[in-house]
């Protein structure tokens, strides 16, 4: 057992998902968006959740906070500081949202209410959980805007969301998220809607907050670059399951799942003549495939892969859901270019 895994299991994880599953009832049947994931995040660490669209990464955490539409069915367990969230009453959830767990959303323009001033919206977050007067909340919100690096915070607090640039808006979202000093921060693709140059700034803000305030941060993204930059540990999701769990270094240096290898290979490289996408498409979650969901696109697929839903098992310093990990050279995928 690698030492770092032991360590993170020894420190009590703040957020702990066990066999967490989400399915949506639709007229055509049940869409199984998340099919049993185990994720834990401890204080002071940034866990990256990486996967394609449709892998279930956002749905997982929206489900944890109870922000999914009514057609969603959630099973399994999700605890924050020991408090069980699955099946919790709305009242309980309201003490968690914004207070224990705060979320930063993808598109800050649509995530902020266009008719209220920015300072008010941050203050609203404060007043939702702290007994302070309106003026105190507004003062505090100005301080928060300052913390996230918005210049002239007092003036800007009186402005409306559409008067901010994309990066500044996202900083406002971050300020809102940390307003009540939550234990856990969930950032759902916070940089996807932003320019590349601004992305770096936002990531820097999030990382600074994580380190200075010792928060547990979940960084959801499809961008491996983001993972490389800020994550400590990574969970790779595919078709509603976690297929690899590793430290960020190990993930890039020694991936242990064909899907991860595929992702890494599909990153464009200087001097590369042809792009190497992963062939095929993600499966339809209305009737998820038997066994390993990746086998249709996996160059190492074998009959054993179709037998049962693969569980995570340790391999080297990581955890992988590939049942053939000991039989194949995962990195051999690069040989298929010919």
């Amino acid at each position: 057992m690698p030492s770092w895994i032991q360590v993170s299991e020894m420190t009590d994880p703040l957020l702990c998902l066990k066999d967490f599953a989400v399915s949506f009832r639709t007229p055509n049947g049940d869409v199984q968006a998340v099919r049993g994931v185990d994720i834990s995040v401890a204080a002071g660490e940034m866990v990256g959740i990486v996967g394609e669209s449709g892998s279930g990464k956002s749905v997982t955490f929206l489900g944890v906070l109870g922000l999914l539409p009514k057609s969603a069915r959630i099973t399994g367990s999700a605890t924050v500081e020991g408090l069980e969230l699955v099946g919790a009453s709305n009242r309980t959830m309201r003490t968690v949202r914004g207070k224990k767990i705060a979320m930063i959303f993808q598109d800050p323009l649509s995530a902020l209410n266009p008719v209220y001033r920015v300072g008010y919206q941050v203050a609203e977050m404060i007043q939702a959980h702290q007994q302070v007067s309106k003026s105190e909340a507004l003062t505090r919100s100005v301080e928060l805007l300052d913390i996230v690096g918005i210049p002239q915070p007092k003036v800007r607090a009186r402005q409306y969301p559409h008067e901010f640039s994309g990066g500044m808006r996202q900083r406002v979202m971050i300020a809102m998220a940390i307003a009540n000093d939550p234990e856990v921060l969930i950032a759902d693709e916070p940089t996807t809607a932003l320019d590349v140059t601004v992305q770096a700034q936002i990531l820097e803000v999030v990382q600074r907050i994580q380190r200075e305030m010792n928060k547990a941060v979940v960084m959801i993204t499809h961008d491996l670059g983001v993972i490389a930059r800020v994550a400590d540990r990574v969970q790779v999701m595919y078709a509603g399951r976690v297929v690899e769990r590793a430290s960020v270094n190990d993930l890039f240096a020694a991936p242990t799942h064909p899907y991860t290898v595929g992702l890494l290979n599909s990153l464009p490289r200087v001097g590369q003549e042809r792009l190497q996408p992963i062939p095929g498409r993600p499966p339809n979650m209305l009737r998820p495939p038997q066994g390993c969901a990746f086998r249709a696109r996996c160059p190492h697929a074998a009959p054993v892969c179709a037998e049962k839903l693969p569980e995570l098992q340790p391999h080297a310093n990581s955890m992988t859901a590939c049942v053939r990990i000991n039989e194949i050279d995962v990195a051999e995928m690069s040989g298929i270019t010919a």
């Binding site: 055509n28 062939p279 095929g280 498409r281 499966p283 339809n284 209305l286 009737r287 495939p289 086998r295 249709a296 696109r297 996996c298 160059p299 190492h300 697929a301 074998a302 179709a306 039989e327 194949i328 050279d329 051999e332 298929i336």
Partner: protein
């Protein structure tokens, strides 16, 4: 251990994993999806059936109506004709001259539907043209059109109709073309004048939103001319809302015609035809005299017609809305 055999995953990939057909999800064209959605709407489905039956009855009026439009139910010698309550020789009773309400209703609905459909089609033609130009060109034309229709549409409808009707009806050169103020032609034109504005604004909105979409840019990049873009891309994508507007326009005309008739400003097409509105007008006097069939059947027909058309419009809206949605 290096696997030197051809990777099994790539060849003969498990066919039923990602195979769309295997999931029994057929790929449908947008039209087919819209068709499905339309029939899913129960109200629209029932309404369409009812309307179709009505249309058949009405179109084949000479066959389905039991009597001529001015024919009296009984010969004078055979007995009293006037204000008979519903019975076997006159299923819906008779009016003040002894004519069969049922037959007159069929003839009347025929006329009113004709008015409604014709004016709706006219409105749509004019409105689509103006709206498309306004949306595409923009500029002064667009501004002017928006302002004018803004103000026009802000006025109380009936007041406007009465004033415009009076003014147009007294212009000799106009009435020479479109007919006398109490003719059906005049009414059709009148409704078209009021109807085109709503359609124009709708089409303009559609064009504006579609204009910015990538597939239009792509067409331009390939070198399509403006006309081609309008005809092959913009219009087909706007068909949905235009259809809905058309349907509601028909309903609006029918109600409008009845309202005007209520005030005696409706079509007075002479003794050879009648309209639904005229028949409904009987209801106010009929009510006071206690001849309930004069109220029930015309008003019932009116309400049935309008409700059905509204349901159809609703169904169309459902069918069309999701089609315009990207994804979801």
């Amino acid at each position: 251990m290096a696997d030197t055999a051809i990777p099994e995953g790539l060849l003969g990939a498990d066919p039923d994993l990602n195979d769309v057909e295997a999931l029994n999800v057929r790929v449908l064209t947008p039209f087919q999806m819209a068709w499905r959605r339309y029939w899913h709407h129960k109200g629209a489905a029932i309404a369409t059936i009812i309307m179709t039956m009505l249309l058949i009855i009405v179109i084949f009026a000479p066959l389905t109506a039991r009597y001529g439009i001015n024919e009296q139910v009984l010969k004078i010698q055979e007995g009293n004709n006037v204000y008979l309550s519903p019975r076997s020789i006159a299923w819906m009773g008779t009016d003040e001259i002894g004519r069969d309400i049922y037959s007159r209703l069929i003839w009347g609905v025929r006329t009113s539907l004709f008015i409604g459909v014709t004016s709706a089609i006219l409105s749509v033609i004019i409105g689509t043209t103006v709206g498309a130009i306004a949306g595409l060109r923009g500029g002064v034309f667009d501004d002017l059109m928006m302002r004018v229709t803004d103000i026009f549409l802000a006025f109380p409808f009936l007041v406007l109709v009465i004033v415009v009707r009076a003014a147009l009806g007294n212009l000799p050169w106009l009435t020479a073309i479109i007919g006398d103020i109490s003719s059906i032609r005049f009414l059709i034109v009148l409704f078209a004048i009021f109807g085109w504005m709503g359609v124009a604004r709708l089409v303009r909105g559609q064009v504006l939103s579609l204009k910015e979409r990538e597939f239009i840019e792509a067409s331009r990049a390939v070198g399509a001319s403006n006309t081609r873009i309008v005809l092959s891309h913009l219009l087909p994508n706007s068909i949905g809302p235009i259809l809905v507007a058309l349907t509601l326009s028909v309903a609006g005309s029918i109600i409008g015609e009845s309202t005007l008739s209520f005030f005696g400003l409706g079509p007075q097409p002479g003794t050879n035809s009648t309209s639904l509105g005229l028949l409904v007008e009987l209801s106010s006097s009929g009510a006071k005299q206690g001849n309930w069939w004069l109220v029930a059947f015309p008003c019932g027909a009116l309400v049935l017609l309008v409700v059905c058309i509204n349901f159809i419009g609703d169904g169309l809206r459902d069918a069309v809305d999701a089609k315009l949605d990207t994804g979801k």
